[in-house]
């Protein structure tokens, strides 16, 4: 893997982590908004981060 490939890989890993936070955090926020609760957002954020990290390990953790 060359130097540019590494740069791309780093940016993709960030993009996975962002996606996790945005998607599941967003679902959590939506649930809070609709149900008038306040605990779904942190649950969603944590779940999203976990899913993002899991995805990074699955994609890049083998080498």
């Amino acid at each position: 893997m060359n130097e540019q490939g590494n740069a791309d890989q780093g940016l993709r890993i960030i993009s996975y982590l962002i996606s996790g936070l945005v998607f599941y955090g967003g679902l959590g926020w939506l649930a809070d908004h609709l149900l008038s609760t306040a605990f779904w957002l942190p649950i969603g954020l944590i779940l999203g981060t976990v899913a993002g990290i899991y995805l990074v390990i699955k994609r890049y953790g083998r080498a």
Binding site: Q4, A7, S15, Y16, I18, S19, G48, L55, R59
Partner: protein
Amino acid sequence: MSGLSSLLVPMEGEGDHSGWPPSAESFNSRPLFPELGPNFAWLNNHMAQAVIGALIVIGVWLWLARRHSVVPGKRQFFGEQAYNLVRNSVARDALGPDFRKYLPYLLALFSFILVNNLFGELFVFMFPTFSKIGYAYGLALCTFILYNAVGIKKWGFAHYMRKMTLPEGVPWPLWFLIIPLEFLSNFIVRPFTLALRLFANLFAGHLVVLVFVLGSTLLMSMSEPIGQFSVGLMKTAGAVGIVFSFAIFALELLIAFIQAYIFTVLTAQYVASSLAEDH
């Protein structure tokens, strides 16, 4: 909308701006022919400079490609060096043996971004086109269409979507957790951050230049003291600021090049990743 979020939507700003203090409004476009009314407001100075940038790119490459000889002259040598930079260190590194198909797009992309970025440091325009986010979105859209189209062409739609949304070795109970993330990451976040990276670097850089140059000029034009600051102190600070602004300009030249390069590199990588056997 106000504040930062309004920067991310490509809209024309309203109203005239006096120029001080420098702000996001310093980036508003001016219609070239205000007398024609709002129907022709799209024909503004920044669009004109993007078109001129494209013409410069076409002209320069035509000029560099003319009358080649076996022993290259200075012009041909320069042209070949610029071509080799994109060909060898971007296209061939990322895309492997069949890089040739994508080379025209990559080279055009690189030179177009570079020329438009340099507009921010050179006279005549003094404004980097891609510090307007709409232009950066346009480029990212081209790249988005390219890497998806070649992926779909090579793998077929269903296989390509599966490849881009499902990494190998994920047990099926986790699919519902993973698929939306992969989709969001590959089809939305990556092209979006590609545009944002270009936009934010040039926007911030140009704003810093504005603050340095305009602020220093304002300080040097002071004629009466403000509070405990004497006129001499303010004029000295202004002169020092002007000198420092040249360092900022040098930094911006570097950033103009780096951003053009990284955009091209990442475009090549995106194409490579949608063509790759597995990743």
